[in-house]
């Protein structure tokens, strides 16, 4: 019987660990709570994003913190974060903890749209502003959340700028072929691109999906040749995009613009040599993108320049950041701007400041949807890069948007033959 009592006591002790730690002294800083995927499948993206965010906090704290007008002084930023293991199991538990035990004032979302949606329910319930970094889905932004603000350009606008490029450089080009991988992401992107093209008066002459893992595009290329389009857009992932670009080159397909998802943004794409030449593709951000203070003008510049950011990031981590690192940094930067504008750390005031926000940063424009898709990013647009040849070497250049370009677009694509 004694042992049994001991067993029960043992089990009860285990529960004690659950009790929230009590006692919290006066406000020493602005607590920003989040979970990151230190383990599991989102590990590398999440880590890079965290590095960006951390760099931002270090820079802010080096200046004494964020100036909060309501209390007339600077408050340093304090991070509270846990590992969510890239899994939904603990996301809600940890966000509840961040809000109640750690007294987080603001939240940053986990990586990926699914985890963000789970965390959003908690953020919403407690009325906490949450910056969604690393969630590019549109579908979580018409779900009635009113405290979640997206940093990335949503999937629906990944390829729409290709049409804008065409209208700008060649208003006569009207025929578009869309060939895409039959995956959820590519399908969502290309369906939106098709709607946009038709809305803008383009003629979508081909709209076809290929299976994931396709290695022979002959039948698609025959169809493309038969419809004689001005531009080809689509793609999916790296391997299929690379193969598609290669076979377009081998078959000497003569079009004016080729724009593919994912593959052109990957450095290994250069190994295709001439087949990669003049292929364009969208990216959330590129180190080469030169959004300039002067060009931003009335739209209001905020934060460091691209060069300053890259230099600081390289100094801290030893390499040039990709878009995840930039996204993490900007999530912090946007929050900082909103707190400064609101002059307070009260959630509803900061929320209103975010609604009003229209700024340009090194990462591009930032503006949030306040309509049906509340919180969705509508200011930021994809930058388009193009593979060009310089001194016999393949180089990536940013060609769009014009205010951020590092080189002029080489047009038409068929110039390379």
């Amino acid at each position: 019987m004694k042992k049994f009592g001991a067993l029960l006591v043992g089990l009860a002790f285990l529960l004690v660990g659950l009790m929230p730690s009590a006692g919290f002294s006066a406000k020493k800083g602005i607590v920003i709570g989040f979970t990151m995927s230190q383990t599991g499948k989102f590990n590398s993206e999440s880590k890079e994003q965290f590095q960006g965010l951390k760099l931002w906090a270090e820079q802010v704290n080096a200046k004494g913190g964020i100036y909060v007008k309501a209390i007339g002084k600077r408050l340093p930023v304090v991070f509270k974060y846990y590992d969510d293991e890239s899994s939904k199991d603990r996301v809600q538990q940890l966000y509840v903890r961040l809000i109640n035990s750690d007294k987080a004032d603001f939240l940053i979302s986990p990586y990926s749209s699914g985890l963000t949606a789970s965390a959003a329910i908690i953020a919403e319930q407690y009325g906490k502003v949450m910056m969604a970094a690393g969630a590019a889905s549109d579908s979580i932004f018409n779900k009635g959340y009113t405290h979640v603000f997206q940093i990335y350009t949503p999937a629906s606008r990944y390829l729409t700028d290709a049409m804008d490029i065409l209208s700008k450089v060649d208003p006569k080009a009207k025929k578009i072929a869309i060939v895409y991988e039959n995956s959820k992401f590519a399908k969502a992107v290309c369906t939106s691109a098709k709607e946009y093209a038709e809305e803008k008066g383009f003629n979508v002459v081909l709209f076809e999906a290929y299976d994931s893992g396709t290695t022979d595009f002959t039948s698609f290329i025959s169809k493309i040749k038969a419809t004689n389009p001005d531009a080809i857009i689509g793609g999916g992932h790296f391997a299929d995009g690379e193969t598609f670009a290669k076979q377009l080159f081998e078959q000497r397909v003569k079009v004016k613009l080729v724009s593919l998802l994912v593959a052109p943004a990957v450095p290994e794409f250069a190994e295709l040599g001439k087949a990669a030449l003049y292929v364009t593709g969208p990216s959330q951000w590129e180190p080469l993108a030169r959004f300039r203070k002067e060009a931003a003008g009335s739209k209001g510049w905020y934060g460091p320049s691209s060069q300053e950011f890259i230099k600081a990031y390289k100094k801290a981590y030893g390499y040039v950041p990709g878009y995840h690192g930039a996204g993490g940094y900007v999530a912090g930067l946007v929050l900082q701007k909103a707190i400064e504008d609101a002059g307070s750390i009260k959630a509803d005031l900061v929320k209103r400041a975010l609604e009003r926000m229209a700024i340009t940063t090194f990462y591009g424009r930032i503006k949030f949807d306040t309509g049906k898709y509340y919180g969705r990013q509508i200011g930021h647009s994809m930058v388009y890069l193009q593979w060009q040849e310089k001194g016999g070497k393949m180089v990536k250049e940013v060609v769009w948007p014009l205010e951020a370009k590092s080189a002029d677009l080489v047009y038409p694509f068929s110039k390379k033959y």
């Binding site: 049994f4 603990r90 809600q92 509840v96 109640n100 749209s113 889905s137 979580i140 959340y145």
Partner: protein, 320 residues
């Protein structure tokens, strides 16, 4: 102590745990206990097929995913209330298990374990490609769904109590199964299936029923969990790692033992939860929990409860 008294302490203890968050008013505590309850449900139901019958179902999480998807779809499309949707999710999972059991339960040992992994991956791939249930992107609730339950805060409390009820039913059911003639048949199958058949145990029927029973409760747990999470994706619904965690909890507490599955789930969740938020260990939690678990398995292969049962004759009756 007499035999058959396990539930006399297990149920009050469970009720005590469940009552802690509303009494203390702590939502942080509630979140932790919600996970404990879910893990107890998963471990206790896996115990029926794995512990009693001796069939190690490696991909058992598939039933949690199936139950979750069925109920989520019903709640999203038809605006069904959580409770009926959850029961339908459980029934769907049980039916799926019964049908699958007819095929995979013919296999024994490692072949069965591998086949169940295959089933999980196949269902995941299928769901990934079914557009009407959201494909790879999954399904998302509109936040207004929770209005029917009195707002998100109340909906989460509601899902907490629902999970508590599911857990209670699971623990009682797993105890009753073990103590019944059916349970005796299952244990006979575990010890020697051929001998059991010769002695008149309808092994095929028994195994299928045990498999269906062990799928019913995870199906309901999945329904509650994804209701609370507000969205469901194939990657989370059919998460193989969680399947392995379930096996681990059963092994940790004690194979084939009602109090064992319960204790295993409780200890595992607390250990992981503690390491995850502890400032000292939070970057090393995976490594540390791995080492701790390895030590337990090496030195207490019969699990915590099995170990205590072995050491104390008196306690055997209350630790079934």
């Amino acid at each position: 102590m007499e035999r058959g008294k396990t539930l006399f302490w297990l149920i009050p203890f469970l009720v005590f745990i469940v009552a802690l968050p509303p009494v203390t008013g702590s939502v942080t505590l509630r979140e932790g206990i919600f996970l404990i309850l879910m893990y107890v449900t998963l471990a206790s139901s896996l115990n029926v097929i794995m512990g009693y019958t001796g069939y190690v179902s490696f991909g058992h999480i598939v039933f949690y995913g199936i139950g979750g998807y069925i109920s989520f779809y019903l709640m999203l499309r038809d605006g069904m209330h959580l409770i009926p949707a959850m029961i339908l999710g459980g029934i769907g999972a049980a039916l799926a298990a019964f049908a699958l059991g007819e095929a995979v339960l013919r296999l024994r040992g490692a072949f069965f374990a591998i086949a169940t992994i295959g089933v999980n991956e196949a269902v995941k791939a299928l769901v990934n490609n079914l557009n009407f249930i959201g494909g790879a992107e999954g399904l998302f609730f509109n936040f207004s769904v929770y209005k029917a339950y009195g707002g998100a805060a109340r909906a989460i409390w509601f899902s907490y109590y629902t999970m508590a009820a599911v857990t209670l039913i699971t623990v009682v059911a797993s105890y009753l199964i073990k103590m019944s003639k059916f349970g005796l048949g299952l244990r006979a199958i575990r010890e020697d299936e051929d001998a059991a058949i010769i002695l008149g145990v309808n092994a095929k029927r028994y195994k299928s029923l045990a498999y269906a029973a062990s799928a019913f409760f995870p199906g309901m747990a999945g329904a509650v969990f994804f209701f609370k999470a507000g969205n469901i994706e194939p990657h989370d619904a059919f998460h193989l790692i969680k399947s392995i965690e379930m096996i681990f909890m059963v092994m940790l507490g004690g194979y084939g033992n009602v109090a064992g599955a319960f204790t295993g789930a409780l200890v595992y969740e607390r250990l992981k939860g503690f390491l995850l938020v502890n400032p000292l260990f939070k970057n090393l939690h995976m490594a540390i929990s791995g080492v701790v678990l390895l030590l337990i398995v090496l030195f207490m292969p019969q699990g915590i409860i099995g170990f205590i049962r072995e050491k104390s004759k008196k306690l055997r009756g209350v630790l079934e």
